[in-house]
């Protein structure tokens, strides 16, 4: 009796399980994104703010690059040139001190407000007065809170003049104005959202210039409007019908937060996203083999390097620095670990930048390295630690280098950790060896030349924490050359000067530059006219259709 009852119960139970399985298997339309919407899988966890005066992260640059306009932009077909965006024309005074921009007629913000030279001037003013991380790109031209309204001003509704403090190379000034920090905000709209602030010794102004609102708000005039940014979830853009240029083809672009390469690949294969932006070499290969998918790539400004802290007596020896450069198997790393996502590059100006130098003199040569170590009085090598972010391909490359360094007796202990944690340690100069990456702050050779040579105060409390400072290195000769290049008006001559600096840097420096990043993306074949730009702020989505 009991047995039958229980069997009945068990049968009911299995029926329930079967039913729920059936439910899951019920007919389901093939997943596809809406026709008028582009969906990108993207790891944008670096975004901290969408305010152009404050945003300084790669992903934020991509979003503001598509939603804000600038006076001038990089010509993405030839990044050594620039072209007008809001500006119809511009002229530079003979003394190289005053730049005059004429705006195109009839420009409008997404809000419908007209764009005037006053908006441009006010955008400069708020950047300088807020003085957030990227502000130095403008303040390096001598702008301060006290003089900015005089030095960056509207002379009439369509004319904006910008006065710099020294006769810099015009290419340098104009390149800096293509940086996201110079994006133009809608003064009238932002003023409706300013919050009062209490003036202090650090911050003299009684309002926040709309900064707290603009962190997630939007006041631009680009091809797209920012509808919403939810940290680590989604960024939603909508077409700006008031855009003065060629209108965007799609109504909406959604960036979905996806951290993992494998998850992006899965979603791409299943049609849940149109573009996967963070693919590992393995997933990229799988995408390339899939008939429904395609891939594209573009060299980016980011370079990966290893640096030796000069506080460590062994690492301060020039022969040891040289030895390190011969103890990396560049070829193997290029063929495997960074295949498709990077290219071996041993100098600090990325390919595509004015003054870039295509010379890769170093190869793995253990015998030569041993010789150098013996000369340094370290024939049996030494022990050392290396700080590495625990993400790929960084850890893989670090392990490969650990192995080749071991062949010459240098025992490396790798200390993995989170990016922000590594950075804290790096900026406190507490590392031995740091492995990481660096992208130019703005698209001009001075950005990298400065950080790889300038160290005007080598004390721990220096206010200018460049990369050479972080590694306790000084190179007064190169520093002088880099400063001189700033004032060379002839762009070709200026480029040659940076090449010369890099040649000297290759000979002697505690930096082992490994490769330049290639950005890759996989996409579904129905996506048309998708192209990656040379930097993140020109990964444009407006030409895309599907």
């Amino acid at each position: 009796m009991m047995m039958t009852k229980m069997n009945r119960g068990f049968r009911a139970l299995s029926a329930g399980v079967a039913l729920s399985l059936l439910l899951m298997a019920a007919p389901n339309a093939y997943a596809a994104t809406p026709k008028d919407t582009l969906v990108e899988g993207f790891a944008f966890d670096d975004i901290l703010s969408m305010d152009p005066a404050e945003a300084y992260e790669l992903s934020a640059a991509e979003i503001t690059g598509n939603t804000y306009s600038l006076l001038v932009r990089l010509d993405i077909d030839d990044t050594s040139k620039i072209k007008g965006d809001l500006a119809e024309s511009w002229s530079v005074s003979d003394d190289h001190l005053t730049y005059t921009f004429k705006l195109k007629p009839g420009l409008k913000f997404a809000s419908g407000n007209p764009i005037t030279a006053e908006d441009v001037a006010w955008s400069f003013e708020r950047v300088v007065k807020l003085n957030k991380s990227p502000a130095f790109i403008l303040t390096q031209f001598g702008l301060t809170g006290d003089n900015v309204t005089e030095k960056a001003k509207a002379t009439d509704a369509n004319t904006f003049t910008f006065t710099v403090d020294k006769p810099y190379a015009p290419s340098f000034v104009l390149n800096c104005l293509t940086a996201t920090v110079a994006e133009v905000v809608d003064k009238k709209l932002v003023l409706q959202h300013v919050k009062p602030a209490t003036p202090t010794a650090d911050y003299k102004y009684d309002n926040d210039f709309g900064n707290s609102w603009l962190k997630t708000g939007f006041a631009g005039s680009g091809p797209f409007k920012l509808r919403e940014w939810r940290a680590n979830e989604a960024v939603v853009l909508e077409r700006n019908d008031n855009y003065y240029g060629e209108k965007a083809k799609l109504n909406r672009v959604i960036y979905r937060f996806m951290k993992e390469s494998s998850a992006q690949r899965l979603a791409l294969e299943n049609g849940d996203i149109d573009i996967a932006r963070n693919l590992s070499p393995t997933d990229l290969q799988a995408v390339e083999k899939n008939a429904q998918l395609a891939s594209t790539s573009a060299p980016k400004g980011t370079i990966y390097y290893m640096s030796l802290n000069q506080k460590n007596a062994n690492l301060a020896k020039p022969e040891v620095q040289q030895a390190f450069k011969y103890l990396v198997d560049y070829d193997a790393i290029g063929k495997t670990l960074i295949k498709g996502i990077g290219e071996i590059h041993q100098t600090f100006e990325p390919k595509g930048m004015l003054g870039s130098l295509d010379e890769n003199p170093f190869k793995l040569d253990v015998a030569k390295a041993k010789e150098l170590l013996a000369k340094a009085g370290l024939p049996n090598g030494f022990s050392i630690t290396m700080d590495v972010r625990s993400i790929e391909p960084d850890t893989g490359i670090a392990t490969a280098i650990q192995q080749t360094l071991g062949q010459a007796g240098i025992k490396v202990e790798i200390i993995p950790g989170d990016g922000k944690q590594k950075l804290t340690k790096y900026r406190a100069r507490n590392h031995d060896i740091y492995f990481g990456n660096w992208g130019p702050d703005y698209w001009d050779p001075h950005s990298n030349a400065d950080t790889f040579t300038t160290n005007d105060d080598n004390s721990d409390t220096s206010s200018n924490k460049t990369l050479v400072w972080r590694n306790t290195w000084t190179t007064p000769e190169l520093e002088k050359l880099a400063k001189a290049a700033l004032f060379e008006g002839d762009a070709a001559k200026r480029g040659a000067m940076y090449q010369d600096i890099q040649k000297k840097f290759l000979e002697a420096s505690p930096f082992i530059i490994l490769y330049q990043q290639t950005e890759v993306a996989g996409y579904r074949k129905d996506v048309k006219d998708f192209k990656l730009g040379p930097s993140f702020d020109n990964n444009f989505v407006w030409p895309i259709s599907k």
Binding site: M6, V17, M24, T37, D45, Y56, T216, S463
Partner: protein, 348 residues
């Protein structure tokens, strides 16, 4: 953290409540202190996290002053305590919203997931436990035990990924990780924050189906883990009941086996079972972090971990405290329910 009177000892209702409150307050302070100090010990500079990699030194110093980072640790804790106790958890660096607003948005997502998970766990776990108890040491009992053992020992993220590969990538039975498809995300307006409920209330059955296809896999997974716990506890409660004299008496009266087991024994076992299910619910609420990450579920676990990764300590602390509050709250409710439903806990 479960407070229960010792067996056989009289514990007047309000005394129990009082003791509970004392424990709750102490737990709270402990929670605040531990999360605060862990937040300060991790080698990430919170000012650097806000300012970003390239910020000049004077900006970092300004931020440090604003965040009281230049003051002694005990003072920082004091500032933190004062604002936390007044319900102000500060602003999230990452989302730039007040932390409480963020939590109000993400918490329903976690609750919905945990609720569906617990329902699945209970629907399957209770009958499994009953069957295992009734047919003790039989083949069914062994199977239930193995299922439970696997549920206890397999890492949740591994199972989550394997199930994603099978049910999403290969079979395409369920939807991509996330809560709702983008096709609906901007057309559907939630009311309560529970998408299943909201879409049903508004009669938007296509949205309901989409939400269902999103929630079913992560919820089943969580349900499986609570099933393991619920079935094991049910089994032992049932074994205990089945050995009681009233069961023998019921059988002697000639009641059908079904009524004896499901009507009498399970009914008595139901009281401690409520506590078990409630605790398992609380466990899912706080323990679904890994599931949320694998399934990109925009809930509180996902929120806390991404905040932690970005050194967004206000958000981490606020989130932790909310989870702690819920945990303590559910404990209190299940404890009170237990006392109300089972007179034995009140009588000598």
């Amino acid at each position: 953290m479960q407070v229960r009177p010792k067996k056989g000892r009289a514990a007047p209702f309000f005394m129990g409540l009082l003791r509970f409150l004392v424990v709750a307050v102490t737990t709270y302070l402990g929670l605040l202190a531990v999360t605060f100090f862990i937040g300060r010990v991790i080698p990430i500079d919170p000012a650097l996290a806000i300012a970003g990699d390239h910020a000049p030194q004077q900006i970092l110093e300004r931020l440090r002053r604003e965040m009281h980072l230049d003051e002694p640790l005990y003072l920082q804790f004091y500032y933190y305590l004062v604002s936390a106790l007044s319900g102000d958890f500060g602003t999230s660096v990452l989302t730039t919203n007040p932390v409480m607003d963020d939590i109000r948005r993400v918490f329903p997502a976690t609750m919905e997931l945990a609720t569906v998970g617990t329902i699945i766990g209970a629907i399957f776990g209770v009958p499994f436990g009953v069957l295992a108890a009734v047919r003790r040491n039989s083949f069914i009992d062994q199977i239930v035990r193995v299922i439970g053992l696997v549920g206890y020992s397999v890492p949740v993220f591994w199972l989550a990924m394997v199930s994603l590969v099978i049910f999403y990538a290969k079979l395409n039975w369920v939807a991509y990780p996330g809560r709702i498809d983008i096709a609906y995300e901007y057309t559907f307006t939630p009311i309560t924050g529970f998408f299943l409920l909201d879409s049903a209330l508004q009669g938007q059955w296509d949205v309901f189906w989409d939400v269902f296809r999103h929630i079913i896999l992560p919820a089943s997974l969580l349900g499986y883990f609570s099933l393991a716990y619920i079935s094991r506890m049910t089994r032992s409660f049932m074994l205990n009941e089945l050995g009681q004299e009233y069961i023998v008496a019921a059988r002697a009266k000639g009641l059908s086996e079904t009524r004896v087991i499901w009507g009498h024994a399970l009914r008595s076992a139901a009281v401690p079972l409520i506590t078990v299910i409630a605790l398992s619910y609380a466990g899912l609420l706080e323990g679904s972090v890994l599931t949320e990450i694998v399934f990109s579920w925009p809930g509180i676990g996902f929120y806390i971990t991404s905040s932690l990764r970005n050194a967004d300590m206000n958000a981490v602390l606020g989130g932790t405290i909310v989870v702690g509050t819920v945990f303590i709250g559910i404990n209190l409710i299940s404890d009170l329910l237990y006392r109300t439903l089972d007179p034995r806990t009140r009588r000598k």
